[in-house]
């Protein structure tokens, strides 16, 4: 990992602050980001904004799997979004933004919003 990349990442919390299979909301460059941790300690970052319900709530949804795909169900009307891609599994034409994310020394860090 080179130095230039490191600085664009913002540390938001420790991995231990996120219970496995849940999410937290973080404020990253003014935007609400939902950060999820799966049971195998992978982390994913999506926009917290539910495009169906028009509210910033995705971090509060239930995390699970569909087949092999980890997803979060919106707490509002239960639309499922894939954690890796942000794509809605019931309606692939809708998706939410995803962010680069990593864990360094137990710190969860959010990087740039990925283009989509």
């Amino acid at each position: 990992m080179n130095a230039a990349q490191t600085v664009t990442y913002i540390s938001v919390c420790r991995l231990d602050d996120i219970d496995p299979e849940t999410g937290v909301a973080a404020l990253v460059r003014g935007e609400a980001v939902a950060v999820f941790r799966t049971v195998d300690d992978r982390v994913f970052a999506l926009s917290n904004y539910d495009p169906f319900g028009h509210a910033s709530v995705l971090a509060r949804g239930i995390v699970g799997t569909r087949g092999e795909v980890p997803f979060v169900a919106s707490p509002l009307l239960k639309q499922p979004f894939a954690l890796e891609t942000g794509i809605c599994l019931d309606d692939p034409s809708i998706s939410v933004a995803t962010y680069d994310v990593d864990v360094v020394d137990g710190e969860v860090r959010i990087g740039a919003r990925r283009p989509h």
Binding site: A25, G30, A32, V39, S56, G61, E68, A73
Partner: protein, 865 residues
């Protein structure tokens, strides 16, 4: 056809069959050419006489076939309280009781039958009744209020039904039967004995082989009393003291009008008609119980319906005929299943009988089989009639018996008849003449469930005895088409919620991870996780936000509040029974004011405060808890409210303290996690101001105690709660409710309210009664103990949350900026209070806040912490 050429059909009698004739005539288009005038003697339009006994529970309105009092087709006129006293076939006129004369082109007699009252001295006394009309039942109910003991004379099908009613009305009941056994017409001797034992077990006294000689008045003639006091039996010295008597000694066709007009009658009574139901006069027809096609009268509704269809068809020039009917019956008497079908008495030459009897379980089954062992001719079932739905059509269709016919009646037989396929033309519903083929065609036409098939074909909508069979056929057909009726919870668990409940209970699991590793696949989803959370909560009553399980909680449970459309929450403190002090009201008012919340009185008799930010919930609840409030569980699939009316404390009609009971019940069941939410209601009298019968459990006060109703529902598919048990003491009420609720918690599907759960049980409400009241599964004490565990371990979730920093950790807007309110939540104002504003785009705080900076500026790790 021009109006003056329209013909006129006069129908005498607006009972079940008269009504069916009219609807058939309208449907088939007879009213295009004919006006129909229906003259009915009863004060109300036709009603469901078959379900007459349920009048006590549901009232007259619910039984009515025509609640509006008029047919939609304007060419049909209905006149109630109108008796025909004479018919004149030569002049083609009828004479009404008030002297009016009415001409007809065609006359349809649908006058039904009248109960037969044998000429016993004393039959004219007060408190002697028959069992045929709503007015009869009203009078019986009135008398039962003061009567201690009553006798039903006649132990046939109707007599037992009347006895059942008397028993339910709290009268000590005797059944008096001349024959050596009950229901001698339908069932054989062994079956009759088994039935007699069942009925005696329920506390009724059965007297067989006794003939009633006379009825004597109360306390002897000296008092001048004109009501019943005792029955005197032939060859029995001791009279039987009773305060009321119901005669149910058979029925006689009401054929007096036809007799006086000189029409041909059958030897044993009834208007003699041909295969088209035409009498000896070409313009007079007879249908239903007053008619005797080929000399035989039918005391059941299905043959009457067939006759009505035949006459409507004949008047349109059709050739339909009535050539006899299936006299099979299945009924539930005092909780005992009894069925007889086909040649129940084995009168066919050389037939064979196959019987199964279990005196301990009270089950008796007999099959009558053709000499060569290939066809089923008839049978009798007592105690367990689950196989009826399959066996009756097997008789009617004459299909080949399977190799081991005894399997049809052995106890492990499911009643679905696993594997046995009826031929497509086999009539499954005899009330409405629906075949297996019709049912499958309805599925092809798009019906998705047995309930939809019933709607489309009427199969199962009349006496209901074919319901199980209809369901089996629909499900088998689905399976045959590869459309499995999948009962798995979701892709992660291939079991139902009830199965999962048992698995968790048996293994004593405490966490989701244990359960999914042992019995599931993947990592779960928004369907199975909340279901498991609910099961664990029902069994262990731990805190829903305990670390190991909080990831399972659904939207609202996850934050112990109801999520609103803009991401804010609502707060609902419990107000048991809707009773609240002025101080309590002031606290709620102040909290709402201080936190800027919108307030509304809910439909559940409490106060909801809306618009709370998640991070404010703990502070709001601290204030409420300090003032003595606790969680109202408005967010949980758990007990919500027990609605009350003001009751006997204030109301001049109230007979019991409904508020007190509602508070007690709400406090007892608060926090109970269940498959779906649970609501209760308690009304202080039958005026029902608490709408208790719209609730999952409803209690209505009576003079003697409480009536308990279950399975009510508002919501999308409203249902009235049905009477489970009447006149209970508070202790009995609580015992039955404990059992009922725990039985529901254990066996219902996820998100299945009590109403649909009861419908889904094989046997419906009767099954609930068997389990909860009769305790046939022997689960009573276990269910009560489970509820006792729940009430003993109850604690207030919110109090426990505000005292635990580990749980409070999650109540923050942003994990890295807990002090920044989420800018996506904003409010406008309407009528002086806040309302949510929902934007179409996420709101960005941009550079205006200290945490995180726009992309171009590259923060160091240090800065961002």
């Amino acid at each position: 056809m021009s109006p003056h050429l329209r013909k006129k059909v006069v129908v005498v009698g607006h009972g079940m069959v008269g009504h069916r004739f009219v609807t058939a005539a309208i449907e088939r288009g007879l009213t295009e050419t004919h006006d129909i005038v229906v003259l009915g003697e009863e004060p109300r339009p036709a009603y469901d006489r078959v379900a007459l006994t349920s009048f006590f529970e549901v009232g007259a309105e619910a039984l009515s076939f025509l609640p509006s009092g008029a047919y939609e087709d304007p060419r049909v006129t209905l006149r109630t309280s109108t008796s025909v006293i004479e018919i004149d076939p030569a002049a083609q006129t009828v004479m009404l009781a008030d002297g009016e004369e009415m001409a007809y082109d065609e006359l349809v007699l649908a006058t039904g039958a009248a109960p037969f009252v044998p000429p016993v001295p004393g039959a004219e006394l007060g408190n002697v009744f028959v069992y045929r009309t709503i007015e009869d039942l009203e009078a019986i109910r009135q008398a039962a209020r003061t009567a201690k003991a009553g006798a039903v004379i006649g132990g046939g099908l109707l007599g037992l039904e009347a006895a059942n009613a008397l028993h339910q009305l709290g009268v000590e009941t005797h059944v008096v039967e001349m024959n050596p056994r009950l229901m001698s017409v339908q069932i054989d001797e062994a079956g009759g004995r088994m039935l007699g034992r069942h009925i005696a077990d329920l506390g009724l006294t059965v007297h067989t082989s006794v003939v009633t000689e006379s009825i004597s008045p109360d306390a002897g003639v000296s008092t001048g009393s004109t009501t019943v006091g005792a029955l005197k039996f032939r060859d029995v010295d001791e009279p039987l003291a009773v305060d009321m008597v119901v005669f149910s000694a058979g029925i006689r066709p009401r054929d007096a009008l036809a007799r006086a007009a000189g029409l041909d009658l059958a030897e044993r009574g009834g208007v003699l008609v041909d295969e088209q139901c035409r009498s000896s006069d070409p313009h007079v027809w007879a249908v239903g119980e007053c008619a005797a096609p080929a000399g035989r009268m039918y005391g059941l509704v299905a043959p009457g319906y067939d006759m009505a269809e035949v006459v409507a068809d004949a008047l349109l020039g059709g050739q339909g005929t009535f050539t006899g009917a299936d006299m099979s019956t299945k009924l539930k008497l005092l909780g005992v299943d009894v069925a007889s079908f086909g040649d129940a008495h084995g009168t066919t030459d050389e037939c064979l009988e196959l019987t199964y009897s279990d005196a301990v379980a009270g089950v008796y089954k007999k099959l009558v089989i053709s000499e060569d062992g290939t066809r089923l001719l008839g049978g009798v079932l007592v105690g367990d009639a689950s196989a009826y739905g399959l066996l009756r059509p097997m008789v009617a269709s004459g299909m080949m018996l399977p190799e081991n016919p005894e399997e049809l009646i052995l106890p492990q037989s499911t009643g679905g008849g696993g594997g046995i396929q009826l031929p497509p033309e086999a009539q499954v519903c005899s009330c409405n003449d629906v075949t297996r083929g019709d049912i499958e065609a309805a599925v092809d036409d798009g019906c998705q469930s047995a309930a939809e098939v019933t709607k489309a074909t009427k199969a199962g909508s009349t006496c209901g005895s074919c319901k199980v069979q209809v369901k089996t056929i629909v499900e088998d057909y689905f399976t045959a088409q590869g459309k499995t009726v999948d009962t798995s919870l979701c892709e992660h668990f291939s079991m139902t919620r009830a199965e999962l409940f048992d698995v968790v209970l048996i293994h004593g699991y405490k966490t989701f991870d244990q359960i999914i590793e042992a019995h599931g696949t993947g990592r779960g989803c928004d369907l199975c996780k909340p279901a498991v959370a609910s099961i664990l909560a029902s069994q262990l009553n731990g805190h829903v936000l305990a670390k190991e399980n909080r990831k399972l909680q659904d939207t609202n449970d996850a934050y112990l509040a109801n999520l609103q459309k803009n991401g804010s929450y609502s707060v609902v403190p419990r107000i048991p029974g809707g009773e609240i002090t002025p101080e309590g009201l002031i606290v709620i008012g102040e909290v709402a004011k201080d936190f800027g919340l919108y307030t509304k009185i809910t439909g559940g008799q409490r106060i909801d405060m809306f618009g709370a930010r998640m991070e404010d919930l703990p502070a709001i609840w601290k204030r409420l808890v300090d003032a003595g409030f606790e969680s109202g569980h408005a967010y949980g699939k758990s007990l919500r409210t027990v609605k009350s009316c003001v009751g006997s404390t204030w109301c001049r009609y109230g007979v019991q303290d409904s508020v007190g009971l509602a508070i007690m019940l709400e406090t007892r069941y608060r926090g109970l996690r269940s498959p779906h939410k649970l609501k209760g209601g308690v009304s202080g009298c039958a005026r029902e101001c608490a709408e208790a019968r719209g609730k999952d459990f409803g209690v209505i006060a009576t003079e003697k105690g409480w009536n308990l109703y279950v399975g009510g529902n508002g919501g999308a598919i409203p249902a009235h709660a049905q009477l489970l048990a009447g006149d209970l003491s508070t202790e009995e009420l609580v015992r039955y409710l404990d059992r009922f609720l725990m039985y529901y918690v254990r066996t219902a599907d996820r998100l299945q309210r009590t109403a649909t759960w009861i419908d889904s049980l094989d046997g419906g409400l009767d099954r609930v009664r068997e389990v909860v009241i009769d305790d046939v599964l022997g689960l009573g004490t276990e269910l009560e103990a489970a509820m006792a565990r729940h009430t003993e371990t109850y604690f207030d979730e919110w109090k426990a949350t505000i005292e635990d920093p580990e749980k409070l950790r999650r109540f923050v807007s942003f994990v890295n900026a807990p002090e920044v309110p989420d800018p996506n939540i904003s409010f406008g104002s309407t009528r002086g209070q806040i309302v949510p504003e929902v934007g179409a785009e996420p709101v960005s705080l941009g550079a205006s806040i200290p945490v995180g900076l726009p992309d171009l500026v590259e923060p160091t790790l240090e800065e961002s912490r």
